[in-house]
Each structure stands twice: as structure tokens, then as C-alpha cells.
């Protein structure tokens, strides 16, 4: 019960958004309601504060970085289309064969490469396209917490960079990152299935 079609009119540019992100109409509606729920002052966009209110995100070691991914290039607001575009990275892959996709169309947001790009920019703070040892160390510090000494952290960072680094420049580029994870099931680890 409940006529969904009448709600779709709430979302501006719904059709193009659907094509771009690949979300179904029902999922977009759910996300729109979520966007509205997070937008505490009904501004029509989300600020950093709105996302920082989420408790489960606040205790997430990568919480700040995830929030940063919604505000690229120093912007202070994220509207609904941009919100959905980021979330589209985590959409599970479509069942249809990748080979059937029209190669002239831009790569879908939830392709394996784009998921990897999302993960990469969680590491690469200064957006220079490489994960330096220093950036690796910072991420490690966030995720591993207080149980490990500084020396251990440094040696882990060193080892991880060395294992992935192929051209010997002491940093991990995106392609090296992608190569070191080529056997990993990214699909399962970076997918969120929205029900109905």
C-alpha cells in the first residue's frame, strides 16, 4: 500500500539522477528521506555538522575522512544529487554483464575502479594521487588505536608501502593500489544493498 509514484515528484531531476547513479526509484526515495532527516535545519543541503551528528560515524576511526569525501575541493555544502553520487559508489554491482555496457557511456559510479578510487582517496589526504609513507602512517594511527607503539606503526607503514610500491618511488600510486588489491572481492566489501 502507498503510492510511491506520487513521492518521486519531490526529487528534482529524478530521472537523470537515476540514470547517473543507477539507484532504483524506491532507493532514491529512501535516500531522499534520509537526506531530509539529516538536514536538521531544513536548509536543503547538508553541512559537515549534520554528518558529524551521526553517532555511529563519530566512533568510526575513518569518520572524518568519510565526511571529507562528501565535501571535495573545500566546499561547505552538499546537496542531494552530490550526496547520492557519493553513496552510489557503494551500490552493489548490477547483475547484467559488464560487457553489455556501452563503452561510450561514462563508467558507472559503482564500478570496481570507482570503488577503489573512493577507498584510495580515504588514504590520499593531499590529493596528489599518491599515498606516501606519512599518509599511510596517519591512517594506521586512526585505525589501530592505542594498543600499538609508534615504532611498530612505522614499521607496518613501511612494510605496507614497500609491498605495494612497484616503481620504487616510496609511495603508492592509484594503479599500484589497484594492482595490490586485484584479487580482493571489492564488490562484497564495499557494497551496501538498500532494501526495496
Amino acid at each position: 500500500m502507498g503510492s510511491r509514484s506520487s513521492h518521486a515528484a519531490l526529487i528534482p531531476d529524478e530521472d537523470s539522477l537515476r540514470r547517473e547513479t543507477g539507484f532504483s526509484q524506491a532507493s532514491l526515495l529512501r535516500l531522499y528521506h534520509r537526506f531530509r532527516a539529516l538536514d536538521t535545519n531544513k536548509k536543503g543541503y547538508l553541512s559537515r555538522m549534520d554528518l558529524q551528528q551521526i553517532g555511529a560515524l563519530a566512533v568510526n576511526p575513518l569518520g572524518d575522512r568519510i565526511i571529507d569525501s562528501f565535501f571535495p575541493d573545500g566546499s561547505l555544502q552538499v546537496d542531494f544529487p552530490d550526496f547520492v553520487r557519493v553513496l552510489a559508489h557503494f551500490r552493489p554491482a548490477d547483475d547484467e554483464d559488464a560487457g553489455l555496457r556501452d563503452p561510450r557511456e561514462p563508467e558507472p559510479l559503482n564500478s570496481r575502479m570507482n570503488k577503489l578510487r573512493f577507498a584510495f582517496q580515504l588514504y590520499d589526504l593531499d590529493r596528489d594521487g599518491k599515498i606516501s609513507r606519512h599518509e599511510m602512517l596517519q591512517v594506521l594511527r586512526l585505525m589501530v588505536g592505542v594498543q600499538v607503539t609508534e615504532e611498530q606503526l612505522e614499521s607496518i607503514a613501511e612494510r605496507t608501502v614497500q609491498e605495494a610500491d612497484e616503481d620504487g618511488d616510496g609511495a603508492v600510486s592509484f594503479l599500484e593500489f589497484a594492482k595490490s588489491l586485484e584479487k580482493m572481492d571489492i564488490e562484497q566489501k564495499m557494497s551496501i544493498r538498500i532494501l526495496k
Partner: protein, 440 residues
């Protein structure tokens, strides 16, 4: 005139029935078994309805409605998501787990989930819970129509009458008892009045309550701590024992009730301005529990109504008072009626109306073994060298602070376990999500 005579006769028969079948037994704490029969009929009807629905609807849509949220959760704890992260075998892919959890939280987080009503697995013939179910058969619709008539035309007037009688009796009774000088007779009478009126009020909601572990019922001079789902919690607990309430002075009907009951026995009411001063609040509560003759205080440390699918972390203030803490877990069965008060969606009157037009309020109350702040971590300080003066004081303060927060966390975990909810354990170097199962 014949019309008015007839109406008068009906009214008086009605009132006599209510008096004889409901009020008097409540006063003596006796049950005539009428509500049990009602519940049996209700359960049979709902079972029949469920079977009809399952036959009529394709399997998938029924399964989807069973989920509590809008995303499919991967319930593996963090240890599975990370490659043995203990500071040794970190891998580049470990960031995936946290980014996924983070994005999941953005799409839907536990706290927001807790603030909207629990979705039912199968329809319980109430319009308000009918989110996913379509028209199945004529018979089902007929039963639903019958249900509407029964609920709105038979049950609602009865319940409103009872509630009215209950509240008025409470106010009058406690005012009368308040005239007496302080004595054991007064306390006995005030307990009797409280118990009777609360039982009447619970019957006005068709409440069926099961109490477990009555041996751990809160004693005088202690603090009773419970999870909060709705204002009805107070009536549910008071049916089995008297408590001293703690809260803010309010206006209107609530204010009248508050002023009346405080005459009969000492409850702790604060003005709005006093509530902001934490030291004052703590001091008054400490004074209350120091007096062993006073009733145990009832506190809801979550601070707000939660929808009974999990327990939120408690606010600190409740635990700084000291004394013996008696935890109580209240779990409502949503099949018969949703007791959760979503104060942003409904005001008090429409909430009460919804509750009174549900089938019934069915809940379980577990009394848990008492805990004290002192008993916690008392042993650990023995090995330390002697400190004196300022250092010792600071250490004591730190200790107390530690004990309070550990007690708070332990208490929260105990209630979570008892109610069988998933637990969100707070970060202590590692951040993990574990599910504690079962009702121990």
C-alpha cells in the same frame, strides 16, 4: 421520559459492571480472568490472520518487511572484516570495512532507527501498522472491519472510562491520605492507593504484564533503573510495587497529579530551573535514598523514549548518586500494540488515543540482581603505594569517575543482554559490533 430512563439504566448497569468486574478486583490485586480470555481470543485471531496473509502474498515481500532497517546489514563482527588486525598484519584493504560501516551509518544509523516504531513481521490487523500488506481476501477485510468496530466502539469507551476513574481516584485518594499525619498507617494507605489506581490505569490499557525474578524487586533506599519506551512504563512498574518518582514539575493535568501524589508520599519533583543545576539534583536524590524508610527512586537513564529495539547508552548523572542500583528491563510485545511514544510525531493526547485503540499492551518485566558502585573495582587499588593529600584526592576522584562510567557501561550491557538486543560496544582501541544473544 422513556428515552432518558433507558439511557440512565444502561449507564448505571454499565457502571456497576465496571465497578464489580474491574475496580474491586484491582483494589485487592485479584484477577477475574476476563483479560486472559480476551487475550486468548485475540491471539487466535491474529494467528489466523497471519496464516491468511502468508498464503495470499508472495514470499519475498513478507521477508523484506521483517528487516528492521532499509539496508541489508552484514552482521560480521570487525574481526572478520579485518585481516587479523592486532597491530601486526595490517593490509591496504582494511580501510574497506570502516568505510563501509561509515557509509552504512550515513544511510541509516542505529539511533535514528531507534526513534521510529518497530516494524512488524506480520500484520496485526491495525491500520497503522499496515505498511507493506495489500488486499488479501474479503474475509480478512471483514475481520479487520470487525476489529475496528470492536476497538473503537467497545474498547475505547471502556478504556477511557477506566482511565478517567483511575486518575481521579489517584488524585482524590492521595489528597485524602495526605491529610493524615506521618505514620506507618499513612505509608500503608498511600501504597494501597498508588497500587490500586495504577492497576486500574493498566487495565484501562488492557495491559498484560509478566514479572520475572520478583526476588530482585527494588528495595527501599535504592535506585531503580529501567529502559524507557513510553510514559506507560511508570504505570507498568508501579503495579508491582511503589516507587518515588523523579522529574520536572509540569503544568496542566500532569501537574495536578504530581502535586496530589507528593502529598501522600515523598516523590522528588524539580522546578525547571533546578534541573539545570546538577549538584542540586544529585544532592536531593542522595538525601532521599539516605533515608531508608523512603521508597526506591525510579530513574530512566536513557533520558528519552526509545522504541524498544535497543537500549541507548545511559546518561552519566543517574550513577553519581551512589547507593544500590536495581536494574529493571521492560520489553513490550509489539504484536498487540505499539507502546513507543514518538514525541516528535505525536503529542500526548494522540499517543494515548493510539494506545487505547490498540489491541492490548503486553510486556515482560525482568528484575535484575542489584549492583553497587563500591563493589566495582574495589580490589584493584590495593597494590599501590601510599599517596597523601592532593594526589590521593585526585586519585580517588579519578577512581570514582572510572567506577561510574564502568558501572554505567556494565549496566547498559546487562539490560541489552537481558532484552536480547544487539550491543554497540564503545571504542577502546578497537571498534567493534557484537551481538549478544539470548535472554539469559
Amino acid at each position: 421520559m422513556e428515552g432518558t430512563e433507558l439511557a440512565g439504566k444502561i449507564l448505571s448497569t454499565w457502571l456497576t459492571l465496571v465497578l464489580g468486574l474491574i475496580l474491586l478486583p484491582s483494589a485487592f490485586g485479584v484477577s477475574l480472568g476476563i483479560s486472559e480470555i480476551y487475550m486468548k481470543i485475540l491471539v487466535k485471531t491474529l494467528e489466523w490472520a497471519t496464516i491468511r496473509i502468508e498464503k495470499g502474498v508472495p514470499k519475498e515481500s513478507v521477508k523484506n518487511s521483517a528487516s528492521v532497517g532499509i539496508i541489508q546489514r552484514d552482521e560480521s563482527p570487525m574481526e572478520k572484516g579485518l585481516s587479523g588486525l592486532r597491530g601486526r598484519d595490517f593490509e591496504l584493504s582494511d580501510v574497506f570495512y570502516f568505510s563501509k560501516k561509515g557509509l552504512e551509518a550515513i544511510v541509516e544509523d542505529e539511533v535514528t532507527q531507534r526513534f521510529s516504531s518497530e516494524e512488524l513481521v506480520s500484520w496485526n490487523l491495525l491500520t497503522r501498522t499496515n505498511i507493506n500488506f495489500q488486499y488479501i481476501s474479503l474475509r480478512l477485510t471483514m475481520v479487520w472491519v470487525l476489529g475496528v468496530i470492536v476497538r473503537y466502539c467497545v474498547l475505547l469507551p471502556l478504556r477511557v472510562t477506566l482511565a478517567f476513574i483511575g486518575i481521579s481516584l489517584l488524585v482524590m485518594g492521595t489528597t485524602l491520605v495526605g491529610q493524615l499525619p506521618d505514620s506507618s498507617l499513612k505509608s500503608w494507605l498511600s501504597e494501597l492507593v498508588h497500587l490500586t489506581c495504577c492497576r486500574i490505569c493498566v487495565r484501562s490499557l488492557s495491559g498484560t504484564i509478566h514479572y520475572h525474578n520478583k526476588q530482585y524487586r527494588p528495595q527501599k533506599g535504592g535506585i531503580c533503573v529501567a529502559n524507557h519506551t513510553s510514559p506507560i512504563d511508570v504505570f507498568i512498574l508501579t503495579t508491582d510495587g511503589c516507587y518515588a518518582m523523579v522529574g520536572q514539575v509540569q503544568g496542566g493535568l500532569m501537574g495536578i497529579i504530581q502535586r496530589a501524589i507528593v502529598k501522600a508520599c515523598p516523590h522528588v519533583w524539580f522546578e525547571r530551573s533546578e534541573m539545570k543545576d546538577r549538584h542540586l539534583v544529585t544532592k536531593r536524590l542522595k538525601e532521599h535514598i539516605a533515608d531508608r524508610k523512603k521508597l526506591p527512586i525510579l530513574i530512566f537513564p536513557e533520558g528519552t523514549c526509545i522504541n524498544n529495539t535497543s537500549v541507548m547508552m545511559f546518561k552519566k548523572g543517574s550513577f553519581e548518586i551512589g547507593g544500590t542500583i536495581h536494574p529493571v528491563a521492560i520489553k513490550y510485545n509489539p504484536q498487540f500494540g505499539d507502546a513507543f511514544w514518538n514525541s516528535s510525531k505525536y503529542n500526548m493526547v494522540s499517543y494515548l488515543l493510539r494506545v487505547m485503540t490498540s489491541w492490548a499492551i503486553v510486556c515482560d518485566v525482568w528484575y535484575l540482581p542489584p549492583m553497587t558502585r563500591e563493589g566495582w573495582r574495589a580490589e584493584e587499588r590495593k597494590g599501590e603505594g601510599r599517596l597523601s593529600g592532593r594526589a590521593a584526592e585526585e586519585l580517588q576522584q579519578h577512581d570514582r569517575g572510572q567506577r561510574v562510567s564502568q558501572l554505567r557501561i556494565k549496566l547498559n550491557a546487562t539490560l541489552q543482554t537481558k532484552l536480547g538486543f544487539p550491543e554497540l560496544a564503545f571504542r577502546n582501541g578497537l571498534w567493534f559490533f557484537s551481538r549478544l544473544g539470548g535472554r539469559g
